[in-house]
Structures are given as C-alpha cells and as structure tokens.
C-alpha cells in the first residue's frame, strides 16, 4: 500500500456501506476502488515526469545519437533509447524508415523497436505501485536486455535483404528541430499525460475489475500447481497464450498482480505482461509495409524466446532472494 490514507478511507467507506471488509464482495470492492485511484494518481505524476524527460529525446534526436554507435554498444543505446523515446504504433514506420535510411544498422534499429513496446512508462509506474521498485528496475533491465540480445541476433543473421527495397532508396534528410522552451516542454508533458491516460484508461478499469474478481473469488493458492514457480512449463504456456492476445500492458498488470496473489510465479506473470504488449497483430500489419514476412516472423520468434527466457530468469532470481 503506497497510500495508507487512501487505504483507510476506502475501508471506512466500505464499512459505512455496511459491507463486511473480510467478505469476498468487500475484498473485491476495496481492491477495485483503491487500485483505480492509486493507479490514476501514480500515472498522472509519473507520466508527466517521464514525458518531460522525453521532450529532450524526440526520435529525430534518437537517430542522430544512434548514428554514432556501432556493434553491441549501439544495440545497448538503441535499446535504452527505446525506453524513453516517444513512440506510438502510428509512428513506427517513419521511425523505422528514418533510422534505416540514415544508415543505422538493422540490428540497432531492431534493438530500439523491440524494447520500445516492451518497456512502457506506464507499466513501470504500475509495477512500482503494485510490487516495489526492485521489480520495476528488474523489468526495465530485462526489457533492455531483450532488445540488446534480439537486435544483436538480427544483426548476425544478416537480414537486410528482407527489408522492402524502397526503404533503401529513400534519401534521409536531417532536420533542424523546432526549438522548445520550458513552457513548450511543460505543455508537451501535460498533453502527453492527458493523451496517454485517455488512451489507456479503459484498459486499466477492465484490468482492475478483472483483478478484483480474481482477488475476491479465486481461492488462495489455487494457481500454485498450474502456474506456480515450480511448474517448468508455466512460462512457455502463458507466453504462447498471451502473444495473440491483444491487450494493453496496463490492463494486464492488475490481473498479473491478482494472479501472483493466488500463487502464480512472478516471472510467469512478467512473461504474460510482456507478451501481450510486445507482439500484437495490428503492429505486425503496420510493419509489413516496410519488411518482408520472413523478417516479421524472425522478429516475433526472437521476441517470444526473449520473453520466455526472462520469465524463467525472474522466477529463478526471485526464488533465491
């Protein structure tokens, strides 16, 4: 509980309504109200700060930074910039073309593309809210790691021929970015916070709602045998189930949190969350405009393997601590 005052206010409200706090209904209602408010507050605060940092790293600037690095260091920077660069799926094509046509190697471009959807600022916020900062840091580090390894593998496989030819024929221009003063940056950050919140809100409410149902009605330890840390196949099954599932990571976090409470391994839950966001059909269809199907399949394959590996690593590490 990050906000004890909110916790006690919600408890007070529920008791005033004459609902037993320890009953299934009481637990579920408490979870729903408390979590919805907590997440909203955290999101507004954190997205604003992250958007402010982001205003210094638009993709045009990312490109200039990435042009300077080669090899695994390039993969590292590509992946790290994937965390902070503003990026929505409607921009993925211009970003892809911009990076490739200005000579950024395919592997480094992919490091950026892989990490970008996996590590999502709102997801960091929610992990911080539901678990603690260590899990949030682990999530960011592992997300960056998948991007580095995935991009490195794509580089070694020499897949340049699977890019649509027109991409290489584009002559990329460098532009002078319009200047931003502090006022512009604040406006940008506020606008971003509002837009992101508007876009993700329905997922959060659905997610928290599903989470409260699980929280209130699924028996304690119900999932230990099926999806607990000791079931060696849990991570693989959960990831493969989640890949075609199109959802927003924000909706999956409250669900993951509730499932962990019922005995699912944390690593397994992390894989579930990453798989739902990183790979989605609409995203793949957009990418088809610039790459041939084979490359898209390799992209899906590498990312899936990476996510499964992270699930096992998380279960292992958290099992030891």
């Amino acid at each position: 509980m990050i906000f004890p005052w909110l916790d006690s206010s919600v408890s007070w409200l529920i008791e005033t309504l004459d609902i037993d706090l320890d009953s299934q209904v009481g637990t579920a209602i408490h979870f729903f109200i408390y979590d919805t408010i907590q997440i909203t507050l955290l999101l507004i605060f954190m997205i604003f700060i992250i958007s402010y940092i982001r205003s210094y790293f638009p993709p045009e600037r990312t490109k200039k930074i990435l042009e300077k690095f080669k090899g695994i260091i390039g993969n590292f920077f590509g992946s790290t910039l994937g965390v902070i660069s503003p990026f929505c799926s409607c921009s993925s094509i211009p970003i892809f073309i911009g990076l490739i046509s200005s000579g950024v190697p395919l592997g480094i471009t992919f490091s950026f593309l892989i990490t970008s959807p996996i590590v999502n600022e709102a997801a960091i916020v929610m992990l911080f809210g539901y678990f603690d900062y260590r899990i949030a840091i682990l999530y960011i580090s592992f997300g960056i790691l998948i991007g580095v390894v995935g991009g490195f593998a794509i580089d070694k496989l020499k897949l340049e021929k699977y890019i649509e030819d027109f991409v290489y024929n584009i002559k990329n221009a460098n532009i002078v970015l319009p200047k931003m003063n502090q006022m512009d940056r604040f406006q940008f950050s506020w606008q971003e916070t509002f837009d992101i919140l508007k876009r993700v809100y329905k997922w959060i409410v659905i997610g928290v709602f599903a989470g409260s149902i699980i929280h209130g009605w699924v028996p304690e330890d119900y999932l230990v045998d099926i999806a607990g840390p000791d079931n060696p196949f849990a991570v693989i099954i959960v990831t493969i189930l989640a890949v075609p599932l199109y959802s927003n990571v924000l909706g999956t976090i409250p669900i993951a949190n509730a499932l962990i409470g019922k005995g699912m391994g944390i690593g397994t839950a992390m894989s579930f969350m990453m798989a739902t966001t990183a790979l989605s059909l609409p995203e793949m269809m957009i990418l088809r405009k610039v790459m041939k199907p084979k490359l898209i399949w390799i992209f899906i394959g590498i990312t899936t393997v990476g996510i499964i590996a992270i699930g096992y690593a998380f279960n292992l590490i958290l099992g030891v601590i």
Partner: protein, 78 residues
C-alpha cells in the same frame, strides 16, 4: 503564396492538424495551397520521424500535436 503541407499517414492527430490548418488560413485570410502527404517515403524525405508534422514552404516548422493558436502563428509567420 504559401505552400502548406501536412505530413502524416492518416492518424487521428493528422486529421486534426489538417482541419486546424484550413481554419487558420480562412481566419487569417491568406492565400495558401494545402497538401496532405500520406506516403511514408515522401514523409521521410523531410527527415520527420514522428507524425503529424507541419511543413511551410518546404521547411518543417512543427512536429507532433499542435494547438490551433500555435498553428495559426506558424502559418502567419512561416
């Protein structure tokens, strides 16, 4: 005459920008030719990586979501 181009592959924000540009031109009573550029190859030639973007007389003057007041100022001075 000013040539105003809106770069963007048909995302909701691109449509909003297009409408803002049209209203600004009407309000300022200036002559301008407005073009929508939706081809990604064409967009990339301007060095733009996030859409929508506003181009006036072949110069990129704004990227991302732009408020109406800002659009008006850019068209007036660009």
């Amino acid at each position: 005459m000013k040539i105003v181009k809106i770069l963007g592959g048909g995302c909701p924000n691109c449509t909003i920008l297009h409408n803002n540009v049209l209203s600004a031109i009407r309000e300022l009573k200036i002559e301008a030719k407005v073009e929508k550029i939706e081809d990604f190859a064409e967009i990339s030639k301007y060095g733009v990586m996030s859409t929508p973007a506003l181009v006036i007389n072949e110069k990129v003057v704004g990227i991302g979501k732009l408020k109406y007041k800002k659009v008006k100022g850019l068209i007036e001075n660009g």
